[in-house]
Amino acid sequence: ARAEGLNIVFTHHSSASNTFWQAVKKGFDDACEKVQANCQMVFTQTEGSVEQQLANMEAALARKPDALLTSIVDDKAFDGVLDKAVKDGVIVIGVNVDDSQGAEGSARQAFVGQGFRPAGYSLGKAMSEKFPKDGPIKVLVGISAPGQSWSELRGGGVMDFLEDFKKANPGRDITYERIDSGTDLAVTADRVGAYLNAHPDTTAYFDTGFWHAAVARVLKDRGIEPGKVLLGGFDLVPEVVQQMQTGYVQVQVDQQPYMQGFMPVLQVYLAKKAGLSPANIDTGQGIVRPDQADAIMELSKQGLR
Amino acid sequence: MTDPIISVRNLHKWYSGVHALRGVSLDLARNQTVGLIGDNGAGKSTLINILSGLQKQDQGEIYMEGKAAEISGPRDSMRLGIETIYQYNSMVPTMTIARNLFIGREPLKFAVGGFGIIDLKKMRDESVKAIADVDLHLRSPDALVGELSGGQRQGVAIARAMHFKSKVMILDEPTNHLSVKETNKVIGFVRSLKDQNVTGIFISHNMHHVFECCDRIVAMARGQVVLDKLVGDTSIDEVQDVL
């Protein structure tokens, strides 16, 4: 693929064992093949490590690629490097996560994806349609990785919505709690399972990742029927789709990762070939509900969703 | 003199930066007890470590009963019938006395391919006996070796070697740390080796002990053999002069 001479690097904050980012990678690789570009995606070794991402970015830029695609998980850390890259004529596109100031916050030329906080907000909103119409509402928010921005921001978005929801329904008893739910199916299952034992009247559980798939299994093992405890989270991985089919997971936010990998490459291609400037792409609020599950399952198996 | 049981020819051993053995050749006659003496750092322990497989010579050959022997580990040496008491006690401090006595040679209730269930009762009983044999007084065979006094540990090492008597016994300063009574036991034991058709190598810095129980004296200095005579043909003074 070297022949075309279009060099694109993609650096982000996640490690190779993260299924979501593997879907992005697939989109990225597929697009690169289509446009005959020489592409490289660089994962971090530690999930969510900004400093490793920055180091990878600096190393990749030393090769003077034509374009840099990157998630901008921190408002400041990447500013210097991105400024310099743009000055050196590298096309920089933000993917998946943008600077919280948007276009003002960093030198990136466009953004492809969807913000963490808005995603969390829309998850909460979509789920609220399933909330019981009366009686108290008790919500559990599982912060998968306290202190890591992707998790905190998504959780924050959910809680923002809950606050708004409270204001909108002043008469009702609405409470929420956050726990450290862990980034491992088994751990999340155990912790949330224990919590639900202590609080069987919990209305809904929000995970900031996809680890609530394991919670669905716990509920099933306990013979609790689907819908008694509402489950929702982020990213469409096969486990979650499976649990949507069984009815335990009600709402899932899909960022359409394949698209997040695919589109920026095309934009770079167009920018290079036709001088078209990259533009923002919203990869969708992507709220997925169980009725779409079967169709998604097929695509999911191919790594397209 | 019959065929030697062990012959070493021109052994050389280098430690990084130290030439510890500089061409040692020696024949050990069957059923003879050799007293190996020499200054600190003469190379005595190095020589016997090579025979017991702890170290590998850099040059030279070892013959066992006339046949070239390749000793590349303690197991090989044991298989050839060499039993050793090392200068630094070879005990595992975190294990009990009974288990230490039988390390690597545990009595088994039944075994498949060398592995099996240890016969704990037999092990305990035999170790009580072995320890009593060297006149050592210990509370129980279940005490940890790490909790023994210096002499008690050495006593256990000796009990082990005496229990697993073999064709060739090598004792590297076995009487260090031992009380008078036990020292006498050890001397008596070494002296009795001959009668039991065992060849012995006894290292000690105590000339009296060496002359008391050995048939032949080999003195080493700076990695070489400097004297090799039968006890009858030499004297403590002569030996001390060479060193």
Binding site: S17, A23, K26, R178, A194, A198, A213 | -
Partner: protein, 325 residues
Amino acid sequence: MKRFLKVYMEKPELAALLLLVILVAIFQGRSDGIFLSIDNLRGILGILPEMALVAIGVTLLMICGEFDLSVGAVFALMPMSMAVLMAHGTPFLPAMAVGFLVCVVIGFLNGYLTIRFAIPSFITTLGMMFIARSLTVVISGGFPPLLPADLPTWLFTDFVGPGNVIRMSFLWFVGIAVIVSMLLTRTNFGNWVRATGGFFPAAAAMGIPTARVKIVSFILCSMLAGFAGMIQVFRLGSPLPSLGDGMELQAVAAAVIGGASLNGGIGAVLGGIIGAILIRVIDNGLVLSQVDANWFKFAIGFLTIFAVVANAWLRKRARSIKVEI
């Protein structure tokens, strides 16, 4: 009585047991009795075998004087190999055999490299952790295959027993624990493991095949980790490449809490198990006690240190009881 107390409390695994009982009592109180409810016990006992099996392997290896950081990655790699093979049509049993073979190879490499080049197993297994994790991602192509529906998972994950509190995996775990424990205390191999870890030069001098003993321990440890991972995947239904992340440190912590020494030679299978239970109980109990997300790790860290400190203190007290034995 005094004598009994002394002998009993001097064993680190039993001191840990006492601690466990105390902690359970506290959590039972703080959670308004929910901690020991059938539902919660079912949760704890469901996940326990997986962690405990890993802890058993690591304890064995630590007694042998070595260290394995690759267990977490092997935990993921073994079931992933199986899942990938099965997704390509291999039947269950051959797939499982290949899975275990992978564990054996990794364990062997860990041991062989460590011994052949006399390098610390910390490094060998740290490197192996990266390698195994990477392979997990590579063979899955990034996308974990779904498990076929007709697997005999009931053999590992079905609930059994009175009140359905335990899963089949618990029986496997108990069986394996008993076997490994017997192996360590009653067989000559166990004696060699302990000697090799206790004082290597002595073990070598006494003709123990120390290299083989270590390599076998590494292999056993890897296989136990792989087996545990397989059980977890059957329970959760999906082989994620990120499974078992961070388990390596937890397993070592479990072994140490249960009294195993990082220098080798000291430890007991029971101790490793109790350590694993303690860690699970702490984790679960803290959720029930409604610790805030941000403080959760604090509480875990604090209680881990506390458990070991209390254990050390209890043993010291026991040692200073003046009874002749």
